[in-house]
Symmetry: D2
Subunit: 145 residues, 4 copies
């Protein structure tokens, strides 16, 4: 039997950008997906803080996959748009993007994502908040999972 985790994980493995930056799938449940990214020089912006683009990447993926857990099995999901507020410039040892479904309809899904930074001492800081719109597409033209 394919679990929900396996289904999302199978697609996640094919996300080259996430692999390039070392992101990991940490949690999958109905309407919920967490993705973790290790802090490193590789994802910094010019001031030594984590780059908004790296945070947006894991938050966007967490929102998309959270919506996918509520879509029919043969669906694929594409980002229509997202909006993200950067709440605090941090360095961070690791970052966890927690995508949660707000509503998934027949075509359109909406999710939010809190991104939490953890320091070496495991102290939490809310670093970003995303609100995203996703679209279900039929698996065609090479778009699957």
């Amino acid at each position: 039997m394919t679990t929900l985790f396996d289904r999302i994980s199978e697609s996640f493995q094919r996300q080259r950008l996430l692999a390039t930056l070392g992101a990991k799938l940490r949690h999958v449940a109905d309407g919920e997906v967490d993705i973790e990214l290790a802090g490193s020089h590789a994802i910094q912006q010019q001031h030594g803080f984590v780059h908004a683009g790296a945070i947006a990447m894991i938050a966007d993926s967490a929102c998309g996959y959270a919506c996918l857990t509520r879509m029919p099995e043969n669906s694929a999901v594409l980002s229509v748009e997202f909006k993200i507020n950067m709440l605090a410039p941090v360095i961070g040892k690791r970052f966890v993007a927690k995508g949660r479904v707000v509503r998934v309809g027949r075509t359109i899904g909406v999710a939010t994502c809190e991104v939490v930074a953890y320091s070496k001492e495991e102290q939490e800081t809310l670093v970003a908040l995303m609100q995203a719109t996703m679209m279900r597409v039929e698996p065609r033209n090479g778009v699957s999972g």
Copy 2:
């Protein structure tokens, strides 16, 4: 004499995430910054298209630097928030994010960014549109440029 290009370039060099993914500063003028990213497996999402996060990264940086060209020389710029619409799923040989200032005030700047994909045959596709809010910060606490 330090040109506007030198000033932005000096900060751009310190953006590790941009270096990690191979982004290049292509154009700097008053209120305008273009950043280019080569298409590659490394920045794909699960369907083989460019990942929204990679596009958001160059667009966010282009918006921030476009605003920085209109701020006093000793300023640093941080992303307050941005919103991006993904307009077409494409593969693309290269991507150019064209950040343009809408308005820069004393503290807050607003910019938009079109991201254009170029195919091997140099055919253009508008792949994304961003609207971003930036904040000027005094260069302190290690935040400079």
Copy 3:
């Protein structure tokens, strides 16, 4: 023959909120719709400036109708989401929201809208910028035009 203006105008007449606040349809062309709102005490916020909600209302409608001009004749359009930056707190004698299509696909449309304020002396100020996502729906369940 029904012109594009007539088609949009017919729907516009049924917008009670726009009528309530006295908004007027000023311009319709392929991918373009302008809506005007007179400045008045009725649309102010607590500081005497125009309320962001009134500006959002005409901008949202201008974006939706701009997309509708590019959709099949029997379509209806609904707002999926929009994002708006308020660029300057102004009083204004009148406001014009200029909705312009970025791209309209089979289901999803994206438009931007500049809102310009005009003073008594007809001096222009760019007061807001919107980026919006619209959805085409089939005219059913009482949703038409």
Copy 4:
């Protein structure tokens, strides 16, 4: 003694657009403000559903006032930008916008707002979700409260 409710209410009374459409302040607490709007023909769009602009108006105000509860007493608040997803087209007997602070810093505040529609039978529908950025301004140039 001036309570938090009194302080927000005093500013709310001066919001002409809210009065024009009949919005009412329903709840004020630390980081929380609820605003209610009665459903009526006056706030409909062309399909008889509530207009996104009316929903955005109460959500924007709820976010702004929620942030104001966390700012120094002599502060005024202005909308920098907001993004709103419309989740379901509804008619609704009344609408309640529930603004909640995410984070308020020295200059910038971020809040989210759920807008719930209630039917005649008091059945709830989540009709919209907003994520907004607010700015604290010193009470000058006639900007107060």
